[in-house]
């Protein structure tokens, strides 16, 4: 029996599942990420001749039938397939079999989404307008809406605890993980959390063009260059990460194979700046970082690395660099900053969970993955970037930033689990 009132239970991550453009499965992806292998290339899923943006981070060789039963494939969008695949891997990694669990109300699913089942939706709107209402399929009502992934995961694993669906564009993935923590502190034992995104369809790309941030570069190495002097915007990527977020006491009692790290602090702010959300000065991002550290009980001098939001848009990069300087003061030049998303593009709701996965594995292995395409930091972005190649570093405390169109700023603090 759960009474959903807050306690001070500690919350950790015990499983990681990844479906990313540069690797399916956490091990394959992590190896590629450490090696700085970029997966940004010309879009292959449709003809992009009419589009000014023609590059993206597509997942190579993702075969839904390997992860999703046929019956479910026809009922769900690609974005849900990616989450079903990542969730299966994450549960296996955590060695948690939900099928054997007694109290179903202590298991929850909380995911982030940004564009939902947009490709499925495009097909059905096309059916409606080209052929008529009776040609709209029976699964449109459950495939398109943003809650489809959480709903399907909760049904698949029979998780009956408080479920959630978070939308805060690129910041939503961090918010989902913190909501998982809020939920565990209210009596749940384990949450399947994180997020995925599948934004590479003709109509979804059309919509994205209107945010004035996409790069129109022709060459992959020019398309997403966060903090670089030649930054020209970003390109979208697909995929993300699903993490197993668990009460520390529960993980210990069941003998979880590993504790990657503890979720110790978080804060979200909003710029409330302007309608097109053109970059502000980074004040509210700095406040999110400071508040997250304060809630974690961690001083800026204890932070060993920062995984940046890394917008790839010059003004937004400058705002993040300014925010880091504001929070870290004199130390700003010596705290390593990295953005492995430079290899895969911006994954919207999937991006931040993937960064958290990278931060956790970086702490485990004592190595920071590089930022690619960062040859010459832009004026105002002079920080200690990990660029070119991975860097060895002892990491106990890591800060992860994520922002979303709409002035959303989130910052999450992770602590390495004691050995």
């Amino acid at each position: 029996m759960i009474t959903s009132l807050p306690t001070d239970r500690r919350v950790v991550v015990t499983g990681i599942g990844v479906v990313a453009p540069n690797g399916i499965g956490a091990d394959v992806w992590w190896e590629a990420t450490r090696a700085g292998r970029s997966a940004i290339r010309p879009i292959s899923r449709f003809d992009t001749a009419k589009y000014p943006t023609r590059l993206a981070g597509e997942i190579d060789g993702f075969e839904p039938t390997e992860y999703v039963e046929q019956r479910l494939i026809v009922q769900t969008d690609r974005w849900t397939w990616l989450a079903l695949a990542a969730a299966e891997m994450a549960l296996a990694d955590a060695q948690f079999d939900p099928g054997e669990y007694e109290d179903r109300y202590r298991l929850s699913v909380i995911t982030a989404s940004s564009s939902g089942g947009n490709e499925f939706g495009q097909k059905e709107i096309q059916n409606l307008w080209d052929r008529g209402p009776i040609f709209v399929g029976a699964y449109q009502s459950i495939a398109w809406f943003y809650a489809a992934t959480t709903g399907q995961l909760s049904i698949k694993y029979r998780m009956k605890g408080p479920c959630g669906v978070i939308v805060a564009e690129g910041a939503g993935g961090l918010e989902a993980l913190w909501q998982a923590r809020r939920t565990i502190r209210r009596g749940v034992d384990l949450v399947v959390s994180g997020g995925t995104e599948a934004p590479i369809g003709p109509y979804a790309l059309t919509c994205q063009l209107r945010n004035e941030r996409l790069s129109e570069a022709d060459e992959p190495e020019d398309a997403f260059r966060p903090f670089d002097a030649r930054a020209s915007g970003y390109v979208p990527g697909e995929g993300g990460a699903i993490l197993i977020v668990e009460a520390l006491d529960h993980a210990q009692e069941r003998g979880a194979p590993q504790v990657y790290g503890e979720i110790v602090g978080y804060a979200a702010t909003n710029d409330a700046g302007n309608p097109m959300h053109r970059s502000t000065d980074g004040t509210q991002l700095a406040r999110a970082m400071s508040l997250a550290l304060e809630r974690a009980g961690v001083g800026p001098d204890e932070v060993d690395a920062i995984f940046a939001d890394a917008a790839g848009v010059p003004e937004a990069d400058a705002a993040e660099a300014t925010a880091i300087r504001e929070v870290f003061g004199a130390r700003a030049g010596t705290v390593p900053v990295t953005a492995p998303k430079s290899m895969v593009g911006r994954l919207y709701a999937g991006g931040a969970p993937l960064d958290v996965a990278a931060a956790l594995l970086a702490m485990r292995d004592g190595v920071l993955p590089p930022t690619v395409n960062l040859d010459e930091p832009a004026p105002g972005c002079e920080l200690d970037f990990v660029r070119g190649e991975a860097r060895e570093a002892a990491l106990d405390t890591v800060l992860v930033n994520a922002r979303g169109f709409g002035g959303f700023n989130s910052s999450l603090v992770l602590r390495r689990a004691a050995a």
């Binding site: 029996m1 009474t3 959903s4 807050p6 449709f46 009419k50 000014p52 929850s108 699913v109 940004s114 564009s115 939902g116 059905e124 709107i125 096309q126 409606l128 307008w129 080209d130 052929r131 209402p133 709209v136 029976a138 449109q140 009502s141 459950i142 809406f145 943003y146 809650a147 489809a148 709903g151 399907q152 909760s154 694993y157 029979r158 998780m159 009956k160 605890g161 408080p162 479920c163 669906v165 939308v167 805060a168 918010e175 809020r182 003709p202 109509y203 979804a204 059309t206 919509c207 209107r210 804060a267 979200a268 702010t269 909003n270 409330a272 302007n274 509210q284 406040r287 169109f405 709409g406």
Partner: protein
Amino acid sequence: MADPRRTAVTGVGVVAPGGTTRDAFWDAITSGRTATRKITFFDPSGFRSQIAAECDFDPLAAGLDDQEARRMDRYVQFAAAAAIEAMADSALPDGVDRERMGVTLGSAVGGTTLLEVDYVAASNRGKEWLVDPEYASPFLFHALVPSTLASEIALKFGAQGPAVVVSTGCTSGIDAIGYGHQLIQDGEADVVIAGAAESGISPISMACFDPIKATSRRNDDAEHASRPFDRDRDGFVMGEGAAVLVLEELESALARGGHVYCEVAGYANRGNAYHMTGLRPDGEEMAEAISDALRQSRLEPEDIHYINAHGSGTKQNDRHETAAYKRSLGDQAYNIPISSIKSMVGHSLGGIGAIEMAACALAIETGVVPPTANWENPDPECDLDYTPNEARRTRVDAALSTGSGFGGFQSAMIFARPPELRREAA
């Protein structure tokens, strides 16, 4: 741990079919007036269900400026209008700390309306899979990502605290208010603009419920089509609208002399982990959510004076919900007036949960329970007191509202008059 911080409701704003302000809404539903009608927004011939509860809404008259009216999709306009009303109602002091002000809003289908309109142009009525991006309007990205709902409201009121959209389908409204409540409980915000909005009366949204026969086909009798708990109910009637509440940490609300409608005494949600659209008849998971909310509130079933039901008017929902009430409240379920305002304002998907919480706040405030309209013939499987057709005057110290939706989500929330204000109201 010490008792967590409490959440007061200090402002209420509503845009609903039949009443696009708080007072007009309350007057309409306590008079039992239905707002369901033949769809006027587009030609519904060819659709199985051709009826809806539409809002007669003018964004400029509701206080939006011309740029907002141009930029915001209809569901965002609803939320902005409801938020203007709620914020004015709360009379927050000018110096309120905007960095401690959050925004938590719900929507199930977000910017569908604009997404569809632009798609029709860019694809030449669905003829071209590779759409022409030239025909996309400047605010199409705002429509793609429903987080726009939260960012627009944060922008409008300068709220620099946490902002988030909660999109759990048809329980989004309760869940978004619950989210705001938890932010206040946990000290992450002191004031939260919380609620939900939806504008799903568009061809694609109507079309997606046709094949699964979820919506009513009583097309020749639109006024009486939404018939929750009635034997002859045949599905829900689509609605649209928004409600926004101002949530405020209770002690500070009382200290500043703010008007407190009620407090969020309990909130819980559960998944049935059973089926995306199907409900098992026993109502177990909704009953779990209700029991959790009751325990948080430290109230007994006898203390609940009104239940605002999800009452969508589908065969399975009303049976499921009736079972859940009996399971969680025991025999007391028979003694509590229950009603479904969806009989009058339709089912606005993610928006309705917030509109229903607004109704609960107003029931506590005014001592009136709105009725279930169109209730004529008893259903042996739905044998509780559904407050048929006429509002009832009765003291309401605590009201329970429930929501149920696709994905299997079941939510429950209790609004109650804070004990420290009960004597004063007596």
